[in-house]
Symmetry: C2
Subunit: 336 residues, 2 copies
DNA sequence: AACAGCATTGGCAGCGCTGCCAACTTATAA
DNA sequence: TTATAAGTTGGCAGCGCTGCCAATGCTGTT
């Protein structure tokens, strides 16, 4: 049953058709459909009857052009492969959809240049607002945003200068707190296991924070390893094996995220390495699956959903530029 | 540094401004920017110079209205909490973005009525195409789609009647193959562990297929359990505990998806239940993390990314209505 | 010298709607 | 009764762009 074939013979029902059938003016139809201005109940019924008789679907493109404001909100994220960003989208789209907004998304693959392109093409739709990940953007991106006048929320980072709203937490502090936590538990031979992904500035800041935290205690990392992107449990497993082969006497490993840490945990399970006695494992993000491990993963739970939600809320409320520190929660777990 | 404040003092640069500065007509500017029609190199340079001098960003709303075609593609998915749908989005957006299309997304929470609302509001933007999950939609959804004339791709299911393109695989067959696999390995006391989510028709079809597969072997399920949504490792853990408490002599459990199955595996680890000797575990989706477990999870790997990619490809190519069976891959793993 | 053919260009209607304003009706106050 | 306010309604310009068509200037031909 092919309903739609190549040609689009549908002649498009317009507001004029509805007005004619209902025997009212176009602006009356418009008012009824947008519940704006005033109209009698009788008129409303006539209009709604005509609308459903014709199967009229308002053309928001025309509406947006006429009113010079759209109900589009653009979200530009680095990736969809990591559950972090879908979580942000979830939080944002719940808020957005319940207010009748439409989400337009773009994926940058952690490349600023790609982000710039996406910003340009999304701004062409004159969105009501823009949600970006992180605080690092090209100069041209900033210039386009400023010139367009759209409101912006930057999320999941707090370490740097924001454009407008900023909703997130300090990645640097998260890394530093992890170091303090591990050092506080007596660890001295710590390693960092990350991935090679230069565009991931948030991971970089955590890493820097971690090193700073070690330095506070007069320590430096016993080893460090960057495995090829993308992050995955398998990558964590292999990465940990590599680290331990090179530096067998490690007593703690800080993984760039939970996916990797879970893989590391599996390596320990398979190799009979006692966690945390022999080796402490620490992740980042607080994924659900990490908490369901036989030993709940030590990690930092990040408010991803909430960040999306709060950012959307600020934008919808047209609040003055605001910085919201959503914080994070260190989950001691049982692997450190 | 607040760049944007409440008012939008930006007077908006239009094509007329560019035309004036470049000393050419508006249609010439339009032609240059869209690389359509013909124009001299000199003219192009003048126009581009004016564009960057003014920081002109074309208004696609106006463009779409004038040309009565937009470069928006709408994707409506049940959820973003499960990595399945982000994977689909990834596949689709790579294809879409590389062709200069913009993705508009909506999340239905597995509710047909919600899907209907989203379809209505997204059709108001006159998208070029629409990607939906599954084949189940309300009559009004179908009617709106037919009336609008947009091309549609329905993905991740093949069991039923499609509207236009259909890209996916048979969920029923996946469930049935799982039953055959487990029965073929000598299992006789099988249970199903799902979640209470009536709108998840794909899970329902797998479940039905599973029962059909058991029936082929003259078996019926030894037990079944539906835990409250959402699915998660923790839910799988608890669900398996519940099943085993009620029916201790189970020899295999089919989980609605890998998230749940991984939780079940953790339960076995924690309780010292030997997998697969004492109990076989089987999941669905083929998540990466399941394959990194000490024993790789037995599961069915589904082509989620590919489904998004193929669907987008068909739509962009304006292909005649096509049904693509992407198939799936049964991964024997080590837990069954 | 006149003309067809082509590349290049500008003018302008119109895409479908909203915002504004004026016109009208009815209710209420003076 | 007349003036004033409030509630309804329709007309129409115009949002910024594209598509169509006509105009222009060249080139190469007869």
């Amino acid at each position: 049953m092919v309903i739609n074939d190549r040609e689009r013979p549908v002649p498009a029902v317009t507001i004029a058709d509805v007005a004619r059938l209902a025997g009212v003016g176009e602006s009356t139809v418009s008012r009824v459909l947008r519940r704006s201005g005033s109209y009698s109940e009788e008129t409303r019924d006539k209009v709604l009857r005509a609308v459903s008789a014709l199967g009229y679907v308002p053309n928001r493109i025309a509406g947006a052009l006429a009113s010079t404001e759209s109900d589009l909100v653009a979200l530009i994220v680095p990736s969809l492969a990591n559950i972090v960003f879908p979580d942000v989208l979830r939080g944002a789209s719940v808020a957005l959809e319940s207010s009748g907004f439409q989400s337009v998304i773009g994926v940058t693959d952690y490349e600023e240049a790609r982000e710039e392109d996406l910003i340009a093409s999304v701004l062409a739709w004159r969105p009501r607002a823009l949600i970006l990940a992180g605080l690092e953007h090209t100069d041209r991106s900033r210039a386009m945003i400023a010139a367009s006048g759209v409101r912006v929320a930057e999320i999941l980072d707090l370490d740097g200068q924001g454009i407008d709203h900023v909703v997130g937490f300090s990645q640097h502090a998260a890394g530093r707190d992890t170091a303090r936590h591990l050092v506080g538990r007596g660890r001295r031979r710590l390693a960092y296991l990350g991935i090679r992904l230069p565009g991931d500035s948030r991971a970089r800041k955590r890493h820097e924070g971690f090193l700073a935290g070690l330095a506070e205690a007069g320590l430096s990392p016993a080893d460090q390893e960057l495995v090829p992107a993308p992050s995955s449990a398998e990558a964590g497993r292999i990465g940990l094996a590599t680290l331990l082969a090179r530096t067998p006497d490690l007593d703690a490993v800080y993984f760039v995220n939970d996916d990797m840490a879970i893989g590391g945990y599996f390596h320990c399970l398979a190799e009979g390495i006692t966690v945390p006695d022999r080796l402490a494992l620490f992740g980042f993000n607080g994924l659900e699956v990490g908490q369901a491990l036989p030993q709940p993963l030590s990690t930092i739970r990040t408010p991803r959903y909430r960040a999306g939600e709060v950012a959307a809320g600020l934008l919808l409320a047209q609040a003055p530029a605001t910085v919201v520190d959503t914080g994070y929660e260190l989950v001691p777990g049982a692997t450190s």
